[in-house]
Subunit: 309 residues, 2 copies
């Protein structure tokens, strides 16, 4: 691809060249989740996201329970992207010193509640303390669904690009309370629909290039087709379309697929899954473009870069 | 057990009561690693340890490569305790802001080198930045060895208590360069020797009670039998025996087993595995005792508490 890598994506791309994979690796770095063979017939899907107070949540505003819920939910969203069924999670926590028992207990209660809500047992973890912000590192394990493990690779030129729900404005609170699309990911894969899939965590404008890079394709997004979340009309000077493109933390699924026939649309509707087409996959040479009123222009990443903060 | 829980163990024991397990959980919280069923025949073993600059290593002294190596090695040591064969790892990193490319690259190179050294591929990860110390959160996945998954449960009254190597003084540098006992754990389990096993990360005096609690037993440690590492004679005002009991980060395996017959000793020696008996398992009512010259007295935990720091 002609697309220029920037920020963390460039750093990671460079760094990953030094790593070698073994025969057990089914899906390595560069996707929402990894998959590895663990026996004669078994494969495990695994995702790991690290959340930090002041970056991914504000502990003094949202409280420990919502922070814990988010730490689990973002990893479940990665499972959704891989079309895997979660089987359990582990928690690594670094608590700010001096460690307060109230905070510890509230966090654990939050993880216990989230574990119930998402029917995902806690398998274990590791607790530490340090002079720094609260860090919550969650790992989720899953088993491949009936449709097999999906990844960011596999999008084909001519594919429709769709999302599972409206985008933008999650910062008004939805980034803490969103529903990971685990069921949707499993159903979509079981029906053999996605060629490639990922979850939208860092914003469409930053995530779409990752799917395209992994698939070796480009994409054309139709601005008028983007489903704008009602939250994009919340207090902000930025126009709703811009927020839908760049805000991040929507945690909807983005997928590339062949045009759906009426039977597929009906089957998905029966599962209460409603895809919105937002564009199409084009050859890599055409890059990532946004079509605003018939005027395609390069879509520049405006979402979240984890290293520049 | 009559033993009084303290610090993080007490907090965790309270917190874990709120969590429920599902049918897929083969080994839940409270051991070095967890195990979960991921398919009809597959099981995966998983360990997660979080390391923080200033707590588990001093980045400015040891450098990024040794910090990365330790972050992987401590998790491999958990695999060893479970008698699992590692199949891959994931890295979650929180880098201090402003993020320096040199640090990022050196850390990734360190993980790549450790990945080669331990023949354990990197499956993926997550990178973030924050105003705080470097945090390295590694998750290792493994497959059960031929002897099945081992845990801290299963020690029986009358069992011999053994370690795989000398203890104490790891702070002089060995805590960064130690060899995780993965091979030893797999061989011991394959030969059906351990009833219960764990790795010594927080010091014998703090870890042994965990094995005993998990097994519902007590233990008597013979002070004169403890293998003292040469490092315990390093610069310190504390006597070698005290360091062997409390120092922590030896990452040797501690196991409870029936007395070995000559054939077993020979078979282990052929694999270059030499167990040192340090005591025996006693009824829970007798607690955890240290016998110094025929005078048993309660062994008080003196190792590392992760929450009090």
């Amino acid at each position: 691809m002609s697309e220029r890598l920037e920020g963390e994506d460039a750093w990671l791309a460079d760094a990953l060249r030094a790593f070698t994979q073994g025969p057990a690796t089914l899906l390595g770095p560069g996707h929402d989740a990894a998959a590895v063979s663990v026996g004669d017939t078994g494969a495990v899907v695994v995702a790991k996201d690290v959340l930090v107070d002041g970056v991914h949540f504000r502990l003094d505003e949202c409280g420990p329970a919502l922070a814990a819920r988010k730490a689990l939910a973002v990893n479940l969203s990665d499972m959704a992207a891989a079309a895997a069924a979660p089987v359990g999670f582990l928690v690594g926590a670094v608590l700010p010193r001096p460690v307060e028992r109230l905070l510890f207990d509230a966090l654990m209660a939050g993880f216990a509640a989230a574990s119930e809500e998402f029917a995902c047992p806690c398998l274990g973890g590791d607790t530490n303390s340090a002079e720094g912000p609260l860090v919550l590192s969650v790992t989720v394990l899953g088993r491949p669904g009936a449709g097999g493990v999906l990844s960011r690779s596999g999008a084909r030129v001519g594919d429709v690009l769709s999302v599972t729900g409206p985008l933008g404005g999650s910062g008004h609170g939805r980034h803490l309370t969103f529903e990971p699309r685990v069921r949707e990911g499993l159903v979509l894969a079981e029906q053999g629909i996605p060629h490639a899939m990922m979850d939208l965590s860092d914003g469409l404008s930053r995530d779409l290039p990752r799917l395209c890079r992994s698939s070796g394709v480009g994409a054309l997004v139709l601005g008028s087709a983007l489903p704008l979340h009602a939250d994009t009309r919340g207090a902000s000077t930025r126009p709703p379309l811009e927020r839908a493109l760049h805000d991040g933390e929507d945690f909807e699924l983005l997928l590339a697929h062949e045009a759906l026939d009426a039977g597929q649309v009906e089957a998905l509707a029966a599962e209460d899954i409603h895809l919105t087409a937002i564009g199409r996959i084009v050859p890599a040479e055409e890059g990532i473009q946004l079509d605003l009123e018939g005027e395609p222009a390069p879509l520049e990443p405006g979402g979240w870069d984890h290293l520049s903060g």
